[in-house]
């Protein structure tokens, strides 16, 4: 980079810093005014660097890899309304996941719990977590180590299907079993 460019960059940095200062409330003025003085806010969306200052997610949605071939197509478990009970139809596929994880003790999974859109959001985070934990317990009962499993609940925030009918809701009440690298 030439010195000229560097100088321009530095000057603009100073200018930006100068402008940024003005976004801070003028305490003196606010006090004198004793009013609802509006001190403004930064409306720039965060840059990628700012957004991921605490660590950039790994490629493939936070380390996700394809499920083992024999278990592909069996990675989603659906639930009844207001329930975290695992339906009998999933016994076999869960046993398959458990057997794979026991056999491949370095393999890890993330259980992602979801709810339908009804009800309050943070409470739904709790319900989604309860579903993920039900699957976690089922796997651990079959010998999977706790440290091979992490859970995350998205509640109603990441529906698989949009729509506000019974069909969409049934598709959204689920736990997704995600294999990690």
């Amino acid at each position: 980079m030439s010195m000229q460019k560097l100088a321009i960059l530095l000057i603009s940095a100073v200018l930006v810093a100068g402008c940024a200062k003005k976004t801070k409330p003028d305490d003196e003025a606010a006090r004198v005014a004793g009013s609802g003085a509006d001190d403004g806010f930064v409306t720039q969306p965060l840059t990628e660097d700012e957004l991921y200052a605490m660590g950039r997610p790994v490629e493939g949605e936070f380390g996700a890899i394809d499920a083992p071939q024999a278990l592909a197509g069996q990675t989603i478990i659906y639930f009844d309304f207001d329930s975290s009970a695992i339906r009998a139809e999933y016994t076999q596929s869960l046993a398959g996941h458990a057997a794979y994880l026991v056999e491949n003790s370095q393999a890890t999974v993330r259980l992602e719990g979801h709810t339908d859109e009804r009800g309050s959001r943070e409470y739904n985070i709790g319900l989604g977590e309860r579903r993920a934990q039900a699957v976690r317990r089922a796997l651990m009962l079959q010998g999977v180590r706790g440290d091979q499993i992490t859970t995350v609940s998205y509640g109603e925030e990441r529906p698989a299907v949009t729509g506000s009918d019974e069909e969409a809701w049934a598709m959204n009440r689920r736990v997704e079993i995600v294999y990690l690298r």
């Binding site: 402008c19 940024a20 003005k22 976004t23 801070k24 409330p25 003028d26 003025a29 606010a30 004198v32 005014a33 004793g34 009013s35 609802g36 003085a37 509006d38 001190d39 403004g40 806010f41 930064v42 409306t43 720039q44 969306p45 965060l46 700012e50 957004l51 991921y52 605490m54 660590g55 997610p57 949605e61 936070f62 380390g63 859109e117 009804r118 009800g119 309050s120 959001r121 943070e122 409470y123 985070i125 709790g126 319900l127 977590e129 309860r130 993920a132 934990q133 976690r136 706790g146 992490t150 859970t151 995350v152 609940s153 998205y154 925030e157 990441r158 949009t162 729509g163 506000s164």
Partner: protein
């Protein structure tokens, strides 16, 4: 799509010059609060060239109408449009059955600023009620208009106005295949929206600090839920909670020093904790295998209301900060969740299942009794205006999330102008300082 708002980059200098008229009379609203006061906001004069960038009278008009306590007059019905107090003929307005008339004038002054002068008259008594001159920055006429609406509202009702406040809310756009979650701030009437955070992963549960300078929220951008605190003026932010498992539902204590939040841990047992922000010390409040979540502080900062399904379905409980003896406070119906305490501490707004519909209800904690306020099928996330007069909430319209507001007496309902996308989780700011 995001907006840069240079208008707000400069602090608004709202110097209240000495009142032009010392009127100590307060209008008696003889029709009672349930009757809207007939008012006329005459279009303001403008001494600059062309038109002013903001129709100040229209903004005041819309603000006062929004409160439900005033019935502004259609401009087309005004027989005269005075802009100076000397030109106001009160008998004209008496004939038009107006109780209050407001006139004003906008004058460009040195330094690229404006001076807004306005006068309020009690038509019935034939007296001036208030008169002020406000200098405002050229790009901040709208904020000046909100401030004038606040002053008129407080003068006439005795209750501070909320038109200079803001709302925070979340949108999600799915248009380009992948969702985009955004946290927005806007004026309380929906004007001047701007994005303060965005992510491909969910953002949820925004909560204002009591001084209005910071917002806490939950973001999944790192692949797990984390609680962030962001300074509004600078955009600077930090993660304040990143425990294993769920980190959620942040709620500022009334004194701003603590954050109630919810941790799930490895075993996913959601409990409420209080985090002291200065030293990051964490204190556990609830202790139960059920879901305990959605904390909301009582205004005295001594107790916390929260949602728990320890009795089966979700109900609201109250507990002291020491966690001893949580007491159930909702009994009507099988679903009562996400309580928010009114500013006076006497009422709870919550999500209530009303015969299969999720609606906003108000619980009177003194007298008991639950009153359903909203009419949708999936209403959620109620938030009180800082003066306690209105509740803003999220509802669905045509398959899309939109924002609505309802007065706490249930009489006034308003749909809030919103941007594109699915809108949710509105939170009303504290009073502007």
């Amino acid at each position: 799509m995001s907006y840069r708002i240079p208008a707000l980059a400069f602090s608004l200098l709202l110097m209240l010059a000495a009142p032009l008229a010392q009127a100590e009379l307060r209008i008696e609203i003889t029709r009672g609060v349930s009757e809207a006061v007939p008012i006329a906001i005459v279009p303001f004069g403008f001494e600059g060239e062309g038109r002013p960038p903001v129709d100040v009278a229209a903004v005041i008009d819309a603000n006062l109408a929004f409160s439900g306590r005033f019935a502004p007059m259609d401009r087309r019905d005004m027989v005269a449009r005075p802009t100076r107090p000397a030109d106001v003929r009160l008998e004209d307005w008496r004939l038009l059955k107006r109780d209050v008339v407001v006139v004003g004038n906008i004058k460009p002054v040195a330094g690229g600023r404006y001076e807004i002068e306005f006068h309020v008259f009690d038509v019935f008594r034939g007296q001036p009620l208030m008169g002020y001159t406000l200098p405002v920055a050229a790009n901040n006429l709208r904020a000046g208009a909100h401030r004038i609406a606040d002053m008129i509202f407080e003068r006439l009702t005795g209750v501070p106005g909320i038109f200079s406040t803001r709302i925070a809310y979340i949108t999600v756009d799915r248009d380009q295949g992948k969702p985009r979650y955004r946290l927005w701030l806007a004026d309380a009437d929906g004007a001047r929206p701007g994005v303060i955070a965005e992510s491909a992963q969910p953002i949820m549960s925004p909560s204002w600090s009591p001084d209005g300078r910071r917002i806490a929220y939950v973001s999944f951008e790192t692949g797990a839920s984390r609680v962030f605190v962001q300074e509004i003026a600078t955009g600077k932010r930090e993660i304040v909670s990143s425990a294993p498992g769920i980190n959620g539902s942040p709620a500022w204590s009334p004194d701003g020093t603590q954050l109630a939040l919810v941790l799930g841990g490895v075993d996913g047992n959601l409990e409420i904790y209080v985090l002291t922000l200065a030293n990051k010390q964490l204190r556990r409040v609830t202790n139960h295998p059920a879901i305990d979540t959605e904390p909301s502080w009582a205004p005295d900062g001594k107790s916390i209301y929260f949602t728990s399904d320890r009795a089966g379905g979700p109900q609201v409980y109250r507990v002291g900060l020491d966690g001893a003896n949580p007491r159930r406070v909702t009994f009507e119906g099988n679903y009562n969740a996400r309580p928010r305490v009114s500013p006076d501490g006497e009422q709870l707004a919550l999500v209530h299942n009303d015969r299969g519909n999720y609606r906003i209800a108000l619980l009177d904690m003194q007298r008991g009794g639950l009153r359903v306020l909203s009419e949708g099928r999936q209403d959620e996330s109620p938030s009180f205006a800082p003066n306690g007069s209105m509740i803003i909430y999220a509802t669905r319209e045509g398959g899309r999330g939109v924002l609505s507001a309802v007065s706490t007496d249930g009489r006034v309902r308003q749909r809030i102008a919103a941007t594109e996308g699915d809108v949710r989780e509105p939170v009303w700011s504290p009073y502007a300082r």
